[in-house]
């Protein structure tokens, strides 16, 4: 027989992007400790709906820690107190009976609140459109081992590719900087042979779009790495800094001059 918890919730309620928000005190009684954090909110919402009130809006999708939809800050930490765990994979057994839990949205100017805990993270989509891809010939699969790469390099790129784009790095950063996300997405492709042809324009394009979206600047405090549910390393930020300097040098000095096409 599992235990149940009685909790005091302080939930951020905001009816729309430009509305003024506030913390609402909600008593969450008889929450089974086997429930996930999102299931706890489901139970609370069902009771709110039964009362005829407005349920708490929050983003969720796969609920198995791989989609990056959860976007809530629990007691000051994006995705809550557990290391390397998304909010959907956080379980109520990690809390104690009688706990007060603060639940608020990811806070950043570049992530405007849509409603309550749901935020607009389309800035990340714009950054991806600015270079988070490779241009390849589609069609039949090419021969195996056509692109030689060491196991270590492939593993390293995979570490960056683990990023699920949830935005916890932005939420935890003291400056709401998106450097961990951008550096993981750029670094993953920049360390693979397929990413080389577009490397410089990728780095310049993604950083430019990141700046335009209104994210802050990295101050090397590494809150992002500590909050990341996929434990993306800040070494990717180091690489992005280095690649950005090299891309600027390339763009300013060594890039081939455009002749406007048509040959000589």
């Amino acid at each position: 027989m599992s235990h149940s918890l009685n909790l005091q919730l302080k939930v951020w309620r905001q009816s729309s992007t430009n509305a003024k928000g506030h913390f609402q005190d909600i008593v969450a009684k008889d929450i089974p400790e086997t429930a996930s954090f999102l299931e706890m909110l489901d139970i609370v919402n069902q009771r709110i709906i039964t009362e005829g009130s407005d349920p708490i809006a929050f983003d969720h999708d796969c609920r198995e820690g791989i989609c990056g939809a959860c976007s809530m800050v629990i007691n000051g930490k994006p995705h809550g107190p557990e290391k390397a765990t998304t909010a959907c994979q956080l379980h109520m057994r990690k809390f104690k009976d009688g706990d007060t839990i603060w639940i608020e949205p990811f806070r950043a100017k570049a992530f405007p609140v849509i409603k309550d805990l749901a935020v607009d993270r389309s800035a990340f989509d714009r950054i991806m459109q600015a270079g988070g891809f490779i241009s390849v010939r589609t069609g039949s699969v090419q021969d195996a081992n056509n692109l030689p790469i060491s196991k270590e390099a492939a593993d390293s790129a995979m570490d960056a590719a683990e990023c699920i784009g949830c935005g916890a790095c932005v939420a935890s950063c003291k400056n709401a900087s998106a450097m961990l996300f951008v550096s993981a997405k750029a670094g993953q492709l920049n360390s693979l042979p397929q990413g080389q042809p577009e490397k410089h324009r990728r780095v310049l394009g993604m950083v430019k779009t990141m700046d335009e979206a209104g994210f802050g600047n990295c101050t090397n405090q590494f809150e992002c790495e500590a909050a990341c549910p996929k434990e993306i390393s800040v070494r990717w930020i180091t690489k992005l800094n280095r690649d950005y300097a090299l891309a600027t040098l390339h763009d300013a000095v060594t890039a081939p001059l455009s002749t406007g096409g048509g040959g000589d």
Binding site: G76, K109, D211, R235, I237, R242
Partner: protein
């Protein structure tokens, strides 16, 4: 030429570009701070040693070298301050609504107060230059001594007179403490921003950063303390 100019202006407008400039100017200032300390420690080698060193700095390259250094340092300080203030403003604007429950996972205290420690160091630099370089509000410029038959500025007596007034010494030590805090984050941060840190070198860089900051603090605060306690007179 216009393509070159365009690339550089994009770089200077970007977050990463501004940070790289902050790191480069910071690096120059980090090197200066150590050189400045080593020179000052000559006070423990006696009056002649520091006076000769002071005379050498004033006259190197027929007196031109000191101005090259001054202009270079002033440029670095200006770029460093203007950009960090701009970056800090952008950082504040990036999060207008604060969290109701504020929590810090691993950011150090020093890293969180860089702008404050930096501005206190700036106030100190202004005071320090008025005090010992421009001799405003004192008669230190009239202190002279003779080395090898040549009349030179008596740096030794100036330092002793300057630090004999305890409030001045207290402010010096406080400012050096702020500089120490600033460097403990700044030195390793510089390598990270310049893209020179790697998972292999990072633990070492962090140690170097803290040891460097400690050396700067102990070395610099030893001088006013030695004067106040009467070890140097």
């Amino acid at each position: 030429m216009s393509a070159l100019f365009k690339s550089l202006s994009v770089f200077l407008a970007s977050s990463v570009g501004k940070k790289i400039l902050v790191a480069l100017t910071g690096a120059a200032l980090v090197v200066f701070v150590l050189g400045h300390l080593i020179g000052n420690l000559l006070i423990f080698a006696g009056a002649d040693a520091i006076n000769e060193y002071g005379h050498f700095l004033q006259t190197a390259g027929h007196g031109a070298l000191v101005w090259v250094a001054r202009i270079g340092l002033l440029t670095c300080v200006l770029i460093h301050i203007v950009l960090t203030i701009k970056l800090t403003k952008e950082n504040r604007a990036a999060r207008e609504d604060r969290y109701g429950y504020s929590h810090t996972i691993q950011a150090t205290k020093s890293s969180r107060f860089m702008i404050f420690s930096g501005l206190i160091v700036l106030a100190f630099i202004v005071y320090h230059l008025l005090h010992f370089t421009l001799h405003i509000g004192n008669n230190y410029s009239t202190l002279t001594t003779s080395i090898h038959g040549e009349t030179v500025h008596d740096v030794y007596r100036m330092v002793i007179q300057g630090f004999s007034w305890w409030p001045a010494s207290a402010f010096y030590i406080f400012a050096i403490l702020m500089l120490c805090s600033h460097l403990s984050h700044g030195v390793s941060s510089m390598f990270q921003t310049l893209g020179l840190a790697t998972p292999r070198t990072w633990p070492l860089l962090q140690k170097i950063s803290i040891i460097y900051a400690a050396i700067i603090f102990i070395g610099n605060s030893s001088i006013p303390l030695a004067v106040l306690l009467g070890f140097v007179k």
